[in-house]
Symmetry: D3
Subunit: 132 residues, 6 copies
């Protein structure tokens, strides 16, 4: 199995309004260093999993939809806890949707899976992995 990973980041505000989260209940913020890994059993006709430039551009587009936002005010996230693992899934699903819509071209149909990791600090991170 081959894979390619690219990294970007986003800086968002949010609250986790559930007593379960203790000091993170109030409005605070986070830099997510976002890594997306694309999996493919065999390399494509160009000898790659996915062009690193194209992968970086797609990630930038999806991250740009959330960057510099207050997630508490995003209609898409109304009533949900925007935990790190939840947001990893959001980004993975949005990237998968883009692949299925053809944003990465016909060639991307050979991609078999995707994993998104969000680092919220140097000591904590979360991931979500799914098939394509």
């Amino acid at each position: 199995m081959f894979s390619v990973t690219v990294r970007d980041h986003m800086m968002v505000a949010h609250s986790l309004p559930d007593p379960f989260f203790g000091p993170a209940q109030g409005l605070h913020g986070v830099t997510y260093v976002v890594e997306v890994t694309w999996y493919r059993p065999e390399l494509d006709e160009h000898g790659v999993v996915i062009d690193i430039g194209a992968a970086t551009e797609q990630l930038g587009t999806v991250v740009g939809e959330l960057n510099y936002r207050n997630l508490d005010e995003e209609p898409d996230f109304a009533g949900v806890n925007t935990s790190t693992e939840f947001l990893a899934k959001v980004i993975a699903d949005r990237l998968a949707d883009r692949v299925h819509a053809g944003a990465l071209g016909e060639n991307a149909r050979g991609l078999s899976g995707i994993k998104v990791t969000l680092h919220e600090s140097h000591v904590a991170w979360a991931s979500y992995e799914r098939a394509l």
Copy 2:
């Protein structure tokens, strides 16, 4: 599959008294930067794999049992080579035992696996992964 990882560290002395280990046969020491990853197929009722604060606290407790010790004098490790991979298993098993004993609450029963990685330097690390 979702996962959450938290990081801590411990500073221990030990020897690896087997000619196989060359210069590491004598008493020396190591800082292990310890990462524990918790896996869960579906998020829990709070929208997380495990609360990062609780995960950090559990890891701190297990790491605290070994930190600042000379492992050659630990009764639990008598007669075994306390290699990095062996210690990764020790920490994973102790964390698994804590889950099974309820230290992480009823909710932690949805956790499916755990992986522990011990970084012994910027150029070498070892992992152990198991089901819960």
Copy 3:
């Protein structure tokens, strides 16, 4: 010249309400990985610049005053842009005040300077350095 550095982090919300900051004008958030470096020309009677445990504890206290907050609502920061470099100075000054108030003991009087670095992502950080 000797120095000792310790690292912690904080997760805050803020806005930078000045058109100069473009997309960062709105309410967003950031994880600051905070590093504080203590300088001392000669080691103290214990052979250190400052005990790493004590340095970590002091940093944790100062970081704890800001962690999980919305800085836009902090009275101390009313009317100022809470830029990364401004916050580096806030933390350095608060740590210096603690030293001068004796929180680090008589021995800390031998410390000559302090530098605080705030990493806002893997690609940007800011520092402030001052004498003690």
Copy 4:
């Protein structure tokens, strides 16, 4: 499952002569920080996956065959795009060949798999994983 990872690096020139690669079509260069992970279901008689010293030595040998080269002039790579993911496979296969040829001793027959990751920058990397 246990694993051990060691890290080295190599500095090579190459071109990717396919319009698909845009600015990377011309002759340029790259530092690959190379990580190789060895997998083993059970620890060997010494209590390890593989001796970290031996793993480092084997990786150094394979990396040394490519380090400081212009890959465009390597007969082994004539007519292929030496993409990051392709080179990850080259290194994994060469290490697997060494294991099968006995370079790591009889004991290495218990190894079940290998994964090679090549970091081409702080924001992009590729991997290849295979059975042994």
Copy 5:
């Protein structure tokens, strides 16, 4: 003293045709992770050393002049060893020229110095620091 640092990278080929450099005499390549630090004794009217977005853009422009090149064919570098420390000075001087030419605006005149660090691997880097 305040400072702000931003990071980018470039991937170049070059040779160091001097027997002094041993295996690096031949054509090879390198990824330089480039960090530029801007110094300023007092914050500007916006409360910053330099806008991180503007600093990133300026660095991107200067790095873009070298990225994906074979430095042996750059007229500017004819007859010189394009060592890591030499290239750090090239980037620092080009950024200083841009400041002096007004690319960063009137406000940038308060900047007092600049330091450029080029990481050629996880185990080696070089810097050049100068006044503005």
Copy 6:
């Protein structure tokens, strides 16, 4: 001012037998990731501060004198607390002695200073800087 930095590591046991150090009083251990920075106002005749290969070799020699040791049994350190900052000075002084003894050649006389940083974990490090 130019500088070049190279990195290595060592794994040692030691105790800090002074109640001041709390849990670090007993025999424990540490991995020191060691960075040495060489300073030089002007590049030498080869266009470098110091050859990175030679710098790496010299650091390897000095680190090799301490690696895999129990520092409590080193005659050179009898009666002293082998704190991280103390060991940074030991390594800097030993490297300076090597320069003065000619181990780096006549050319090294242009070096003006040296800084040694020892990382004891991902959250703590110490440095010592001196003239040459």
